[in-house]
């Protein structure tokens, strides 16, 4: 049922992307140089690759977090974030494909991949990128991306394997196994969440760097991932599934979204404020491109409103976190808001002043959303919706706040 809706969405997204792409391409071509709309497609692809990879990895992270902290309350809903992990292999393939295709068609997503930038005798020689060549070079970049996805998926597959085994044999043995792999995952993710953010998002602006960018990206991922988890849980609850989940669990998820929206805003302000104060040309360039650009600046401030002001004010009271309608609406706003966050991080870097926002961007986002939804929901339906032998199910049943 939901898969069908997803397929319809996907078709619609594709049609909008195709027609919208052609139409906007013509106008963009008239105004600017060459194949700007092809670059727009790659920019869009990259935003959605990064964003949905983030949501998928947050699903695994959420499950791992519950095991590492030995949490009981989340036991009845842990199958939902668990299903997110199945998006990872697809995301990895899509990401590498987009990277190679963009380089192959000379519409490079990453400025640093241009030839000649690191060659001292070339007219394009760039000393800043030259000094970063030990880290920012194509073989190492590809190797890192492959390693992230391989290890993430391996650890996810292990956790999932024991989760399914638990359904069959019960007992506490699978739980301890899952906790072991969760611990390894958390340690690995602590490092790779930062490095992947540098690789995939920050290196779009290779001259600029921010020391808290890894956390910033992670917090953005985390809020978006939590919002998707919460949305699916509420939808399933409304359809009559997940009997064990009650308002207290939903309330906890709401608190998670509320808290990490504030965490995101804290990092956003910390990053922005320091660059703003210091006003050093090589540092301020990132924000100069976004705030002082007539096209991006409305999005820049909309980003803060959607991702901080809205969830902060709406989810502040206890009642709003316990009402499904309000929480669902907030989830949708936050998911759109954090998509916008990645749009703002990536598009100005890839497209510079030629950035655009139209049907093409919306279409690709819808396409990815429906593909993601299809993969996650099909895999969700393949196993029991509740891990029936989870040792903490009884505790979760009496969860009360």
């Amino acid at each position: 049922m939901i898969g069908l809706v997803g397929a319809v969405l996907a078709l619609l997204g594709a049609v909008i992307a195709a027609t919208g792409g052609g139409h906007h391409g013509e106008t963009a071509e008239a105004a600017h140089h060459g194949a700007s709309w092809v670059k727009r497609i790659f920019s869009s692809l990259w935003i959605n690759n990064v964003y949905f990879t983030g949501i998928a990895i947050i699903g695994v992270f959420f499950v791992a977090l519950q095991y590492v902290t030995q949490s009981g309350w989340s036991a009845p809903l842990k199958r939902i974030p668990e299903a997110f992990g199945y998006w990872l292999p697809i995301a990895g393939v899509l990401m590498l494909a987009a990277f190679f295709a963009s380089n192959f068609t000379h519409n490079n997503i990453f400025h640093w991949t241009h030839a000649g930038l690191t060659n001292p005798s070339s007219p394009d020689f760039d000393p800043i990128i030259y000094n970063k060549r030990a880290y920012l070079n194509q073989p190492f970049f590809i190797a890192r991306t492959v390693i992230y996805f391989a290890v993430w998926f391996f650890l996810f597959a292990k956790i999932r394997k024991y989760s399914l085994l638990e359904d069959k044999i019960g007992g506490t043995e699978p739980w301890y196994k899952m906790r072991r792999f969760s611990t390894i995952f958390i340690i690995f993710f602590a490092v790779t969440s930062s490095t992947s953010a540098w690789d995939w998002v920050m290196s779009v602006d290779p001259h600029w760097f921010s020391t808290l960018f890894g956390w910033y990206t992670f917090s953005s991922y985390f809020v978006a991932g939590l919002a998707v988890i919460t949305y699916i849980v509420i939808r399933l609850k409304e359809k009559g599934y997940l009997q064990l989940v009650n308002q207290n669990h939903i309330h906890d998820l709401g608190k998670f979204i509320f808290g990490f929206s504030i965490f995101w805003a804290y990092l956003w302000v910390s990053q922005y404020l320091l660059y703003y104060y210091a006003n050093i040309p090589e540092e301020i360039i990132y924000f100069y491109d976004r705030v002082k650009n007539d096209f991006y600046s409305p999005f820049f401030f909309l980003n803060v409103i959607l991702n901080f002001a809205f969830p902060f004010l709406v989810l502040m009271t206890r009642d709003s976190k316990r009402q499904f309608r309000i929480l669902k609406m907030t989830c949708i706003v936050v998911v759109i808001g954090h998509w916008l966050d990645f749009y703002l991080a990536i598009t100005p870097g890839v497209m510079q002043k030629d950035g655009a926002f139209g049907l093409l961007e919306i279409g690709f986002a819808m396409l990815y959303l429906s593909a993601f939804g299809y993969v996650v929901l099909t895999n969700l339906s393949k196993a029991g919706l509740v891990a029936k032998h989870h040792p903490m199910l009884e505790e979760a049943k009496h969860h009360h706040i």
């Binding site: 404020l273 104060y277 009360h400």
Partner: protein
């Protein structure tokens, strides 16, 4: 707290599960409970006692809003009207500069405001003599206090009977003398 002679009847409970059921039974019989004292937090007690949710979050929001407005007014007055200075080449009224101060004052007033609201609403003040119904409530007993005046419809014997039936291990009287 007590300005005149107040007579209370106390039910002493050994176990928190008995207490929870006892409170429900006592309230069902139409008795108004003055207060229940427990040595540790008993989950669900506030539901059984029928307490309304605390209004403290609203106080916190109000104090926080006051702090935010105070910070905005203060910063704009100081750096725009009273003594404009160029700092780092920014505008006199540079909003991002004010964000940390807004945050700090919001948190400061929010937390202090809540703290003092809590003290006032619970009648906590320096040199106040604590009202102790039974000192064992700080050790291992749960104490339920019922004010006789507020339950004048029920006789003393009837109250004792209700308390006994609710599982109280011990029943005793407590009288607070007038202060003035």
């Amino acid at each position: 707290m007590s300005t005149q002679s107040n007579k209370f009847i106390l039910g002493i409970y050994d176990d928190e599960d008995v207490l929870l059921q006892g409170v429900a039974k006592v309230r069902e019989s139409g008795v108004k409970i003055h207060e229940v004292f427990t040595p540790f937090p008993v989950h669900g007690l506030e539901h059984v006692l029928g307490y309304e949710r605390s209004k403290m979050p609203r106080a916190a929001f109000l104090f926080g809003t006051v702090g935010m407005i105070l910070a905005l007014v203060m910063m704009y007055y100081m750096s725009y009207f009273d003594w404009p200075m160029i700092i780092g080449g920014k505008d006199f009224a540079a909003f991002p500069d004010f964000v940390p101060i807004i945050f700090e004052l919001t948190v400061l007033l929010g937390s202090f405001g809540m703290c003092f609201t809590f003290f006032i609403s619970n009648d906590l003040k320096p040199y106040k003599k604590p009202v102790i119904f039974d000192i064992r409530a700080t050790d291992d007993k749960h104490v339920m206090a019922i004010e006789l005046k507020k339950n004048s419809k029920l006789s003393y014997d009837k109250l004792t009977e209700i308390l006994t039936n609710s599982g109280a291990a011990e029943i005793m009287d407590k009288t607070f003398e007038a202060k003035s």
